[in-house]
Symmetry: D2
Subunit: 353 residues, 4 copies
């Protein structure tokens, strides 16, 4: 099978997310990483590409210019503020684009980028990791198939503790750009709230129409939100509640999504990512397990495999197959959600998404 | 040890909650149930007292009048709309009162009853069951002792499914009065929201200052609320989220309370009521187990034992000991909470409690 | 409903098991405890009966003699070495007998007592607690109904840690008699191995034909076994494994029984006593919950309720109903099992039960 | 960093384990798979190598001859009966060898191969997957560090259900060779019992001195054992119990190892592979989570990552680092264990390992 020739922008050696993307690409052998502009600092960029044994470029502009005939797909894992510019340039230059979430720093950028992506013949895909978990996909499928009946209410709970202290002031690089509104846009809402709202929509297929957020900055003097509780009005009268927080001390990375319908409920939790729980109306709970995720059932798979599933789908699309991916419309919806929650906090009222 | 001579009002044979109260009273042998006016229907009342082998009365008024010298304590387990009148009369007549929650049907009644109770030398106690679980008490103790540091955020999730269908129209007696605003006051908010908010305050010791509720009646044509998500502003800047629902199909009786502070978190869940989980800031989780709740650790205890713990404390108080109980002030706070949430829904804004 | 007039032998105030039996008898109000010979020490016996407000006797002989017309049922909760004598006398004197497990100290005593019980018109019942859990009964019912198909293998794991240290030498009274072969007979095998083997038989309905035990005394200088792994040959070629240990440091009271058939498996664990797990041949797990154990589903019940279920059944039998109880034949089978395991250890070979 | 040039013998496209090995090798980019003799059938071998885009060979002999200067390491994932011959030839020809477990079909072969491996300067490593899980390694480390005190007893439970029916007769290829004694040697004992006994030794560092196995073939007419319960006598008087079964209907791949010492216990279960549970002597349970296994704590990892950890260690060894691996001595111990259990079944007595 043809391998996709890939280049990466951002994701230098030593960071976390670049290496995850590379491992996910390697896992199924459908990509060959051939080039990179792995840092905005030219020296570090070249050091990283040398260490990886790939062609290095001093800047993403140089990469896009010189790898026109030698690269099929550009993977963008830079901080949010450069997403719009790089992705637009890459699409315009004829590359497929895989972009880490959230789509952009601002809503305006997202609207413009979505326009570009829509009009581009190339694949534009976003890596909303949780949609790569087989049992999240199974949850969506079963809800679409009517297993829970008419959906009534949705609850998403995403809590981390890694920003419980102001570590951005101690030079923690990840924390620094994620809590700098000039780089990230929103805080917890953008970083993990975007995953949470995406899970609410992905699993149910229902739009979020209105939101009312109670948004807080719990760590003193932090420049972005780090905790929010959002009430949701979704399509067809479905109501929801969503909490995202990065200051819940001790939480490693708790994500759960629960959906109740008039026939029963389905729930999924990241801690037990290979399981899906159905609760029947009589209270009986049925746990289904991932049947095959590279290894047979009973052999746990996790985060890297979920990521790799997204890369598999992207590869299929790049080779002409029509497989569902998280595209620009999906990415834009997340941006609209974040914007609406922040407006609702400003206005202290419900806001349309 | 002297046994408390008790009489029960409401709680006829065949209902659920009366028998639970009686079992809880019997468990530790500190009460002797000697009389009852067990139904508002005189015939049924006498049938029930006969079946139990206790002195029967046709009405609560008759009971209060005739058992002055033969009963120490009146247990009231009638629908909410008669709580105020009966409890007031019982206190005035010199009985100790144990009253099922919520305190009354309306806030006005609660304020008046609290006044009576405050000025009465007798014990006035409410049976907020969850405060009877040893590990809920342990959670409170540890938070007070500083184990989680300064509290940041509280989350309470109370979901049932028994009212997922409009069973009140099929003659289900419990459902009928609980969904009749003339009998119950509020719906899910009063029935289980009151437990949820009580847990938030009981475990942390923090008042709820303001609320913003998104209150719904999901089952069509139901006359009371059956689902609500409430954002909380608590003392000292603590933020909270609270969901109570009786229409989450399949939920048997899910109650969880989680409290995060700047040093770690504690969480308790009704499904595993003998456990208490502490999560340290490094993510390590420590499960403590109930050491002794009549049987040694490792021998599960549950709902009846929790109820019995409350009755134990009441008995101690009636015999002159000063043991913490849920008193009129606590009961009133719940009523103020329910009132504030319903106002906030009307006004679509934050309301002071 | 007529209350059973009960007397207790052994179980003085301050001990654990007497109070559990009394609480279990009170829970459903089917018994009235009227008399006791609560200790082998006459002074302590009378102190205890005074404290409980019941008629006291200086010895069990006095009780049996004087309470002939005033007591229906004698509950025996003395150390094992007196079971045979007291139970035989009580049956002979015309009392119903409820006897704590194991049946007797020695196999010979058990055979003789079984003969007496068989020929007695009164009820003879043993309190194998785990058979009182609704979900253990449900497990048995479903296996009998064929849910797991033909049973293939059974695994029972019963581990405690309370005897991990030689606390019998520090005056711990429970430990002292339970590790004294003159009082208890066997050690862990008799105390908890008897529960374990009973669960294997109770849930499957299959006899244990042969055993091969690896029996150890792990705490130095202890006079009885405290740890054993037993291989089982059961009826119809079913194979089993059973571990009982009282020296597994930190184990509170872990009991699990798992049964695999050719269509699936059922498993139950004491930690989550209200649940029963069925695993289908495709790996899907279905958790059923206790529907009604005094309180509605979702309200946990535990050890005292399980005990009370056994007392309910005994009361029904004493009043002439034919409800399944653990009788002398069942009690004898446990004694035969213990004897066979100890023989197999001596002979280092398989032994018939 | 220098990549290891690897060739694979066995593991053709379509099988399970070959692809797992390849994915594990790719995950961390320390290997380059350059050649293969991927099937004993020459045509299928070449089809598979073509599909993978690597140099293909018609036989392992051809591979060893022609890739002398172009391959560093040979990965052997053939059925057990060819392990000895291929591994011996590969070592003799100067290749590093990574060999899937169990070491060989017969104990005699294993002894001979161990001799070759011992005298070979190359790396000889076996892929006992469970030793690749970070929390299994953590368990070993903590036991060595004394966290549980002096070890008293070990329990390993490994149950699968995939051979619950005689699928070897329906042409299931994996089942066919694994239940053919000419290809596999032992059945469940060799396939998964070897993992189980390895876990007992790996986590405690204690040798197994004597075994007494109750070995069964539960599926009628199967030619190998498919279920066994083994009593263990380990070093320093430690006792153990081990069950391995492939006929426990519905079990996906249950593996648990529990170790009790005089200060507490540690237990690990494959279902929750990122967790390690410590139980203190007071019953308190502490769950530790994998801190970093490529992704940060809170992002589940699983089977492929565990495999990849083993390949990482092998790569380090091949490049001259001295990192612990499962070597020929360890592999031989497993073979001695299997042999001893089968002898003990024949003799119906304890056998030395």
């Amino acid at each position: 099978m043809t391998k996709i020739r890939a280049a990466m922008i951002g994701g230098g050696i030593g960071g976390f997310i670049g290496e995850i993307h590379r491992a996910a690409m390697r896992l199924d052998d459908r990509y060959e990483l051939v080039a990179g502009a792995l840092s905005s600092d030219a020296t570090r960029a070249l050091e990283s590409s040398d260490a990886l044994g790939i062609r290095g470029h001093k800047s993403w502009q140089a990469l896009l210019e010189k790898e026109q005939d030698t690269v099929d797909c550009v993977v963008i894992v830079t901080p949010n503020d450069s997403h719009a510019e790089i992705a637009t340039a890459a699409l315009t230059a004829g590359f497929h684009v895989v972009l880490d979430k959230p789509m952009t720093r601002t809503l305006g950028e997202a609207i413009a980028l979505a326009e570009v992506a829509l009009n581009s013949p190339q694949v534009f895909a976003m890596t909303y990791t949780y949609t790569g978990y087989p049992m999240v996909r199974e949850m969506r499928k079963r809800i679409f198939d009517g297993e829970v009946g008419n959906v009534r209410t949705v609850s998403v709970d995403y809590r981390q503790g890694w920003l419980a202290e102001p570590i951005e002031r101690d030079g923690q690089k990840q924390a620094a750009w994620r809590t700098d509104p000039q780089k990230s846009g929103a805080g917890a809402l953008g970083d993990i709230g975007s995953h949470a709202e995406q899970l609410a929509r992905f699993t149910t297929g229902l739009a979020i129409n209105e939101v009312r957020g109670d948004v807080h900055t719990i760590v003193k003097d932090r420049k972005v939100d780090d905790h929010a509780c959002v009430q949701l009005k979704m399509e067809h009268g479905v109501v929801g509640d969503l909490v995202c927080s990065q200051v819940c001390t001790g939480e490693r990375n708790h994500v759960s999504v629960r959906v109740w319908g008039d026939k029963g409920s389905l729930s999924w939790s990241h801690e037990r990512c290979d399981e899906l729980k159905f609760t029947a109306s009589d209270g009986t709970e049925t746990l289904s397990f991932c049947i095959e995720n590279r290894a047979p059932s009973g052999h746990p798979a996790g985060f890297v495999e979920a990521f790799a599933n997204i890369y598999l789908d992207c590869a299929d699309n790049m080779l002409g197959k029509n497989v569902a991916i998280i595209d620009e419309q999906e990415g834009l919806k997340s941006m609209l959600f974040i914007d609406a929650v922040l407006r609702s906090e400003d206005l202290q009222s419900w806001c349309e998404v």
